[in-house]
Symmetry: C2
Subunit: 509 residues, 2 copies
């Protein structure tokens, strides 16, 4: 392998001390022992390592091998799927989004820690977690001074590299060299010893272009040549278009009230089709000169950059559809001075989010009449993906906005229920709710005020009467947050038994 | 009134332009109109205004008068009690702790917004809430340059003063003049326009000694002479002493693991007897040279200062028992260079809490087998006090610790339940749980691991088998967070029906 790639080796490994460390993925994987802990690059299908995990999974098919895997967020390239299928995981954190992995998590086959994405680095730095034996990181190149240049995501790569005993680098020739220079790697230092993070605007540069490590720790370098997995994003549909319109109506009200200008405030949007559609809705708006300070840039942000609507975007990962990826990376020169990629603890840092006063838009799985949001657990028990950065953002943002369609499964599920079956965002942290029915601005409202607004403005008409009945019965019992506890989860129980949350159907059964 | 107090007037109102604005409480109260919004000083019974609220309540007894009342936190001097009794409130935020007010809130007589204590100032600054007509603030004095010197709490006084249309100052002659100089008033500015908060250690001074306002806004000055209400703290009992020991055992483990030194990290403790007892437990520990960065300083912190265990304490309010108040304020000179009082948005700021890596200790009302915490709602519906600062701290601290006795009401209530009846702190934010039974370190654990640890280490033995049965039944159904949703709140329902959470009693009924 080494000889045929000499030109690439010299181009992409500028530190000559490292040039003889190029190995095959199989050799690198052979260093990993049963019981070890791995820190992998990768955040929402971008910038993940694409060779060593496969070689490792192959070993795990033939010998007893279980590892802990820490990542930035979800991995692409079917790595999470494969790890789950092979059964080689002991513990996985802090996020995933793969259907096979999801199934295995819910079957209890391995431990999954669903964590705020800004928090993992603190645990690594403070030695709370099992120490990392190998950091395995995708890179564009390793520079002369031994600095590793990440690819399409930064994730937790820096903290993994700094705290791992050893490092394996995958240099991916399919990742454009023009990525070099768009990263901004800032290390805040230990809690109790750190200075303020000197970041006040999305386009501030406060760190270095790559990850500086002790080069003795770089045990091997593997070459790959494979694009990131494209995002699985679904195009806007009629309902997500309407939701975007409601959100824009709300933002216009904020401008009218003098709380925003038509430059808005730095925008964050969660991963997924709804959030992407909402961003897409900004294309035809009067808002201008926008800034994005987010975790993940999806297709819509590049459309907004193309349209001159967004002037600058800071993120921790770029996750695009197949066609968008081709367009963006073949013309990357026209984007790179308007982009910064940061570590996820900086993109998601409460300090920075609160300071800038972001407008934060994330997707809810379900929410209740008092504004508590479930982002993670289907019917209270089955993990979907994880909380991701939604908690980092919603709690600290100027506006914590949650979007969801008001019903799911053709109306068999109401996304608005009496009492959410799992709480990821409490009533204290949810400012605005948007469904295709309308929006509810919950700021400054007590629970009883919120309930009426959410039911009348956001719930689907087919469930409104049922919600009103619950609320009226709860009101009879009183309290700051009235509930009929024995019925609080009855909608979920009804769904489990009868396949619908609609009570009338129950009466027929 | 004016003539008899001339000496005090000159001493305490150094800005001569203001000396003719001294009025009676009745006159000041007469300016307040039905429908207005008031911003009052006061945080956990300290530094509240003591005359104008009474004069206002008297008016409300005789004429239609309803107002919105924003404060720092709970008011002392029976003001919250009186406001609730008279029925003069439309909306109250962000915290209270009065039994009468609690009752009226739960009866739905007025709207109560239970808010993170660091968040109110953002809403005021951004004009999200109804604008403040009058800020009514207790002061030690008004200095030559028109700067208002707060008393035993800072709370939200600065942001109220800056944003109110008019200001009424109550100069309290009973508050020691030595308080001047211990405040540090820092205004972060608007979101999106602010710089990093330059605070890296509890003893950093970053602001001014008082609240600078446009003196034209000071409409009247009222003199009072009345001590703060003493705290209602209960002395440590056998169980809280044991809880303190468990916490100390945990902290020793952290030192052993190299994650802390015996100087620990800046400490925060919530209000209340349990938290105070836990702090008290540090008196006999080997920990030394401690720092406190908290909301409220209670008796125990002054004992720790006396013992030389605590070297410096930063807070937003000082709330003491009667005897401690006398001791501290008659010898205030020996404390004042070891204390700083800050606005609550700074004492509770996520930026500062995360940077310093606080050890945060707060009280849970109940918690569940997966580590979700209810801090506010008895049986899910009845407001106790409010979330206070617990969410500001737990989410951002190095260690988010929650303490609670494992049972309440002689065992009729288990503080550890299958599913909390209200969520204030999610599984993502709770690191360590301490009861008199032991402690559970939840960091790095998946829900299934947490459940076993919480049940076996923290639950009361009389409820352990019942919790195990629930958990085992839930496990049969699977999921990342196994539950039997139709039974998730059955313990609370059982208590409502049968006066106990114990199932065996149900079987007899």
């Amino acid at each position: 392998m080494r000889s045929g790639k000499m030109e690439s080796v010299y181009n992409r490994i500028q530190d000559h001390r490292l040039q003889d460390r190029v190995v095959s993925a199989e050799e690198a994987a052979s260093w990993i022992q049963d019981g070890m802990t791995l820190g992998l690059s990768g955040f929402t299908r971008a910038g993940d390592v694409k060779a060593v995990p496969f070689a490792l999974a192959k070993r795990a098919e033939q010998e007893p091998l279980k590892v802990n895997v820490y990542t930035g967020a979800s991995l692409g390239s079917d790595v999470d799927k494969l790890f789950a299928e092979v059964g080689m995981l002991n513990k996985r954190l802090p996020f995933q989004a793969d259907p096979t992995m999801r199934k295995k998590i819910n079957q209890g086959e391995f431990y999954f820690i669903d964590q705020h994405l800004s928090h993992t680095s603190e645990w690594v730095r403070a030695n709370v977690l099992d120490p990392i034996d190998f950091a395995i990181l995708e890179a564009v190149s390793i520079r002369e001074d031994g600095v590793i240049i990440p690819t399409t995501s930064v994730g937790n790569s820096m903290v993994f590299a700094q705290h791992a005993k050893s490092i394996i680098v995958e240099i991916n020739l399919a990742q454009p060299e023009l990525l070099e220079g768009i990263h901004d790697l800032y290390e805040p230092g230990k809690q109790g010893e750190r200075s303020p993070i000197p970041l006040t605007k999305p386009d501030d540069r406060i760190g270095s272009m790559g990850i500086k490590v002790d080069i003795e720790k770089i045990k091997g370098i593997v070459f790959t040549n494979q694009l990131d997995s494209p995002s699985t994003i679904v195009a806007p549909d009629e309902e997500t278009v309407i939701m975007a319109q409601h959100l824009i109506t709300f933002l216009r009200q904020e401008i009218k009230a003098g709380r925003l200008t038509n430059r808005l405030a730095p925008l964050q949007s969660g991963i997924g089709s709804v959030a992407n559609a909402v961003f897409h809705g900004l294309l035809d708006s009067e808002f201008t000169d926008l800034e994005v300070y987010s975790e993940v840039l999806q297709d819509a942000v590049f459309d907004l950059l193309d349209a001159g609507k967004v002037r600058f975007a800071s993120c921790c990962s770029i996750t695009l559809s197949s066609s968008k990826m081709e367009q963006v990376f073949s013309n990357f020169g026209q984007y790179r001075d308007r982009l910064i990629l940061r570590p996820q603890e900086i993109s998601n840092h409460p300090e920075v989010i609160r300071r800038m006063g972001l407008i934060s838009i994330n997707t809810a799985l379900e929410l209740d009449i008092y504004g508590n949001v479930n982002s993670t657990h289907v019917m209270g028990t089955q993990m979907m993906n994880g909380i991701g950065g939604s908690g980092d953002f919603a709690r600290n943002a100027r506006l914590g906005i949650f979007v969801t369609k008001s019903i799911a499964k053709d109306g068999k599920i109401s996304s608005i229920v009496p009492f959410v079956s799992h709480v990821d965002h409490t009533e204290h942290d949810v400012d605005v709710i948007v469904t295709e029915q309308g929006y509810a601005d919950l700021r400054g409202l007590a629970p009883r005020e919120r309930a009426e607004l959410i039911i009348e403005r956001c719930a689907h008409p087919m469930y409104r009467e049922q919600l009103r009945e619950y609320y009226q019965e709860a009101l009879q019992r009183g309290g700051q947050t009235p509930h009929v506890l024995e019925k609080a989860h009855s909608w979920h129980v009804n769904y489990a038994k009868n396949g619908t949350m609609l009570q009338k159907v129950v009466q027929h059964v």
